[in-house]
């Protein structure tokens, strides 16, 4: 039995993605910077994917820069944009629940002489626009707030935050790795200057992402070289992965969100019935469709996760990037949970492949192992 409930960490690639990648790797191996037929064919694969992403985001193809993933795109956004603006100000604001790649990039900026300000969130992991507004003091050049949290799934009020930043001439970056294709993103309405997406959270391949850079937004490259991607990201593009990214976006169906959300709610109801004292972490509404984060009444989530894994149910305690560390989740502690409470957190994330039978079986096993922790 294999029940995969760790879709916020990564997802199973779609068959269409695997087909696109295999076809590209076999037949489009030319360098997309070469002018011969094979090179132009590879360039066409890259441009097709760029157009697919642009259409999905309501952006222009030229506004998309392919990267090696979300982490690189987040680093490029924060370091590339803030560094270029250091003459105007040296203050960067990030929310306390950002992905480690945003928080660490902001800390790196401090070594470069900039100041990173971390804005707090409420008990549900939501950053209030008023909190951001108060943080926008003189010298702020960039704000970064994620679209949806990777641990508890909270959808942040990014449209309002983007408007606040734009009105003050401050750049706004949004990490949309978790939300892309699950929550509609219309960059004509969401006035972000920079936005990160990646492929492997939406049944695409690992090792590819993209940064949306609104026309007119200057960006210093992190990687110097041949000037690929309009001089914003040097390095030969990973053509099969980019083609797979495009295929994943094409295969994404916005209607899946409703059915995944119903299954997620069913799982929560089953757990609340079967595990007395279990609590939901994060908001009941305005949450990603596949996300469920619960706090066990007693014990240690890691023990439950080990037992689940042995039984063929795969889940995690929090961010994939942080789950190997002994420290409590920075997201849960920012939400006001104690380290002890955070150690009882269980993240269960569903996808369009999750079935009702899997949800029922997982709920039974989680209830049994949670009971063993309480006994």
């Amino acid at each position: 039995m294999h029940i995969y409930l760790d879709n916020a960490a990564t997802t199973r690639p779609d068959p269409a993605v695997l087909r696109a990648m295999s076809r590209c790797a076999e037949h489009c191996y030319g360098n997309p910077a070469s002018w011969h037929r094979l090179g132009v064919q590879a360039a066409a694969e890259v441009e097709r994917a760029r157009q697919t992403l642009a259409q999905a985001l309501h952006a222009e193809p030229d506004e998309l820069v392919f990267t090696s993933g979300g982490t690189e795109a987040n680093n490029l956004a924060l370091k590339g944009a803030a560094w270029l603006r250091r003459g105007r100000g040296r203050r960067v604001v990030v929310s306390a629940v950002e992905h480690p790649s945003v928080l660490a990039a902001a800390r790196s900026l401090e070594a470069w002489g900039l100041r990173a300000v971390v804005a707090g969130v409420d008990r549900e992991g939501r950053i209030e626009p008023a909190t951001v507004r108060r943080a926008l003091t003189r010298g702020t050049v960039l704000v970064s707030v994620m679209h949806a949290n990777n641990e508890v799934g909270t959808i942040e009020p990014v449209e309002e935050i983007a408007r606040l930043c734009r009105a003050r001439g401050i750049l706004f970056h949004c990490d949309a790795c978790q939300s892309f294709t699950k929550v509609p993103i219309d960059l004509r309405r969401l006035r972000a200057d920079l936005l990160t997406v990646n492929a492997h959270k939406l049944h695409g391949p690992k090792g590819v992402g993209a940064l949306f850079v609104r026309r007119g937004t200057g960006l210093a490259p992190l990687l110097d070289g041949g000037g690929h991607e309009g001089g914003r990201r040097s390095g030969t593009p990973n053509v099969p992965a980019i083609a797979g990214f495009g295929a994943a976006v094409e295969a994404a169906d916005p209607r899946d969100a409703a059915s995944v959300g119903r299954l997620r709610d069913r799982l929560l109801r089953s757990l609340l019935r079967a595990v007395p004292g279990l609590r939901l972490n994060g908001p009941a509404r305005d949450r990603l469709c596949g996300h469920l984060h619960v706090m066990l009444p007693q014990g240690d989530a890691r023990t439950v996760l080990r037992k689940l894994s042995a039984a063929g149910v795969y889940a995690s305690s929090g961010s994939a990037c942080a789950s190997g560390r002994p420290e409590p989740s920075h997201v849960l502690t920012a939400m006001g949970l104690s380290p002890g409470e955070a150690s009882r957190g269980l993240r269960l994330t569903l996808s369009k492949h999750t079935t009702r039978a899997e949800v029922n079986a997982a709920a039974r096993l989680i209830a049994r192992f949670a009971a063993e922790e309480s006994s």
Partner: protein, 81 residues
């Protein structure tokens, strides 16, 4: 030879090489065989390299005119993808 009327125009000014040729090929792939596409490309490397790349894919570059520092190419879709 009479200059045919373009059914669509694709502005590739500022688009780096060879992404400009790739986008033209994708655009032509979505048009009917025989249809004419007007392409705007930059002077220099783009106007030197885009036409042969399109011809290699079976399309015909019918006319090229310099307008305001940029080239306007009329391309007939050869039906290749």
């Amino acid at each position: 030879m009479n200059r045919p009327k373009a059914e669509e125009t694709l502005d590739l000014a500022g688009v780096p090489c060879p992404a400009n040729a790739a986008r033209a090929i994708l655009k032509l792939a979505g048009m009917a065989p025989g249809a004419v596409l007007a392409l705007i490309v930059d002077d220099g490397e783009p106007v030197r390299n885009v036409p042969p790349a399109l011809e290699e894919q079976g399309h015909s570059v019918l006319f090229r005119t310099l307008e305001g520092g940029r080239w306007r190419l009329l391309v007939r879709n050869g039906g290749a993808s």
